[in-house]
Symmetry: C4
Subunit: 284 residues, 4 copies
């Protein structure tokens, strides 16, 4: 098999992605948490403290990244998306209210999607990609993404290499994610709402991610790392992420990319045939 | 005590087993997950990406393995079982729909069992062994296994050495498993359905399994490793499994075996007296 | 940006805090646990065995600390708060009955707060700060703190550097906490009531906290460590905490502080503008 | 303070204890698990495979231990208790049916207690101590223990040094336990019944226990290790326990003891004043 275009002459490609959820995950769980100052402050740390610090670290290594932002978050903090784009990074859509499409009706999903589109349009933020909240894309999601002119989704797990999805409006790229490359499962802790119950050491997390990167260099994969500024923006965790970036750069065979650039390479590759979303299986 | 025949001149015997569950565990939890593309893609990764990669690693070391496949999975992917057999490995039955026998009536269990038998017969896949979904064998299971001419079960935990089970149709071998030699408890994570909530580092997992292998070399045991391609097929985890196989080979005193060959050695050993399934105790 | 006054010439400031909860968390979960001797003894270990041992370790290194005590605990053990103050440490309020303010009506919160004030007043224990049980401060909490002449709260997570909160009665300092610098998530285990389900190794915990301290030295932060004597008073854990203190001292650029002294530095800093508690957001 | 008699010239005292629960914890959760062969086999591994292997390891180092056995388990396996006593170890009572006394009425607790007494009497097994199932001693438990002529309980956590409990029938010794020195929290895994959800590496467990032993050598404590043969009898875990015993012996300042001998030393020490069980506190 010849090397796929998206891989180029690298052994693995790394897409650093940050989901700037802010208060949305806890408010989606229950809006009454708006009245819990500690919970709100736990979440606001992400855009207020974590994002600027993460931008500085990215500058330090001059590596690009993609920030997935719910429309609601961008609307609440009008300068946030622009502050990211100005630093050379990509902003992409992460639903409006951080509700999983699978938990919405098609009409609700469309309304939520378009509400986010409107927010970013009003702020003149170019958006070329989408990630479903909770990675809970519905059967409608790829069509919505294509219909609005976006070029990729990043919510599915059917491979660890990018692929293309056929939609009613033509192909989009799929940049797959995985639970094991997400910081939420490692770091998130809140008793109410219960967003997680274990706090791992950054050393364990960095070691595990490095092992995955090394495996991906062996097999030629896409390392889609998904971090949350309210989690990975904490000092010790950010230093561990910094060490991981340094390690990847030292490897000399890992290419960092923004998701939009990667999506274009996938869509331009004649060797990649768009796959339809598999139909729901009949069981048993 | 003289050395049992199944151990031969090895210090421990290793049976690498892979449960190719694909979509069945989540569909058994709730068929509505058929409509959740991310969940489906999380599971399809196993047969589509994980299995070919695992087969390559087994080739690399030239070690045999046994793949337990639900009948439904084999029927959905007609070439899957054959692609495994062609590489010299064993395919065994893992129920039809990945429902635990203890959750079914005897009639349901029989129907499910025979549905899987029919799938493999139609595909000309020879099947000599069985593993219950969730390891949830019922009191009927050993009889069903023997009645259909299979030679072993691999679902119980009463020992860490193979033994023989008396059934109404003569003895079968029991190749015991254990939670601590399963990758599910270490790696499985999905919030809905909740299949697990902790993601461990491959380094921890490989270290733990190596410690168990070393202990088993000390005590003369059967190392039945149970991995799932949708979990252990991920790059970093597969590299850790690769390291474990390399370690076992380097020991020089660990024999790798397919389950069917091991079962024959157990059943041929006159020193092993078949035990009945212990009757349900009266408590308290 | 010039160095903030609270940081002085240090790279990070460390506030060792101990929440002497004793029986209150389990009794707040359900008063019937008063009749479970093991559960009661699990909690009484904190003030009875843990606190004296912790005081000895603090003496050994001559570092100051702040002990947050529920009023009920101070009333049950009349000499406890005084024994801490006599050793040069600070005692602060931790509600009366260890119920989260967010779980109480405003009247209940006020009554609980003032009951604790009365206990410490009767024991002539000067109190200058407050921490909400479960860090569950309400929108009323900062006002209550200021109204009673206290100088700081330590329950929120909006930053990892101290800040000032505007209240109806003037500013108070906020000394932020975080789940990752709390020993509860690492060590607490009880099935009934379920206060936690994982017991981590002190080595992992100390490593994680040291990584956070190192990150905080990089970014110039406040290391607010929150330990519970019934957890961190255990021998192996206390030795790990001892090692962490030794490490921080060896760094040469970490200043240990009592919370009250730090609060004064924050309130005296003209560069710090009091922020109002953010209003509950309208979602979505 | 002079050295307490029970400590002698050692820096710490180690009591290795094994709770031979066999099938009782799962049957106490729900008797229907009697019909789940895998669950039954998971538990029977303890007395059938784990205990003989543990006895061999204890022989290897010539260290004594105490085995707490539910009366029901001793009755089901008539030779079990005797096989332990014959090797020089102590057998003590662990309720009859492994139900926590706090979950029973006083009459039920007494009946359960006396049923176990009768089993051991019939088997001529001398019993001098007691441990409540789930460590769930009731306010009645110490009286029951003393009334039946037993010398100690080992279920509470009010200290990490032995103490004496005043009862209506005179003092008994209390040999305290703790969750962090129990193998259940580290190793137990079963989805149904849910007895635990995390499987730790023996390396982590041994490291944590060694850290606690080292801390206890520093502070002069009782290291009451509580292991379960169905968990710690597994090869890799037993090798880790073996390494811990070796480490303790190498320390040269740790004395191993049976619980009954330790209890006598405590009761004979005039410096130890029996404490009443603390009365249930009035809260808030």
């Amino acid at each position: 098999m010849s090397r796929p275009a998206w891989l180029g002459d690298a052994k693995a490609v790394a897409a650093l992605t940050f989901d700037v959820d802010a208060e949305t995950p806890v408010l989606a769980a229950d809006p009454r948490y708006a009245h819990h100052p500690m919970v709100m402050s736990h979440q606001s740390y992400g855009p207020d403290v974590g994002v600027p610090r993460i931008l500085d670290v990215l500058d330090e290594f001059d590596v690009p990244a993609t920030f997935f932002i719910p429309g609601w978050v961008a609307a609440q903090r009008p300068g946030l998306a622009a502050s990211i784009v100005e630093r050379g990074h990509e902003v992409a859509q992460h639903t409006h209210a951080h509700r999983a499409p699978t938990s919405m009706t098609p009409d609700e999903e469309r309304a939520d999607f378009e509400r986010a589109v409107a927010v970013f349009a009003e702020q003149d933020i170019p958006v070329r990609g989408y990630r479903a909240a909770m990675w809970g894309a519905s059967a409608l999601t790829p069509d919505l993404v294509a219909e609005h002119g976006l070029r990729y989704d990043s919510s599915l797990m059917g491979d660890d290499r990018p692929y293309a999805l056929a939609t009613a409006r033509g192909p989009i790229a799929e940049l797959p994610v995985h639970w094991s490359l997400d910081d939420w499962e490692q770091y998130a802790f809140l008793p109410e709402p219960d967003i997680g119950r274990v706090i791992e050491s950054p050393r364990k997390v960095a070691e595990m991610w490095r092992a995955e990167l090394d495996g991906m260099r062996h097999f030629g994969c896409l390392f889609t790392l998904c971090c949350h500024p309210f989690l990975s923006g904490r000092p010790g965790r950010l230093m561990a992420l910094r060490g991981l970036i340094q390690y990847a750069l030292d490897c000399g065979d890992v290419r960092f990319t923004r998701c939009d650039e990667l999506a274009e390479a996938v869509l331009a590759d004649p060797g990649i045939t768009p796959r339809p979303l598999p139909p729901p299986p009949v069981y048993p």
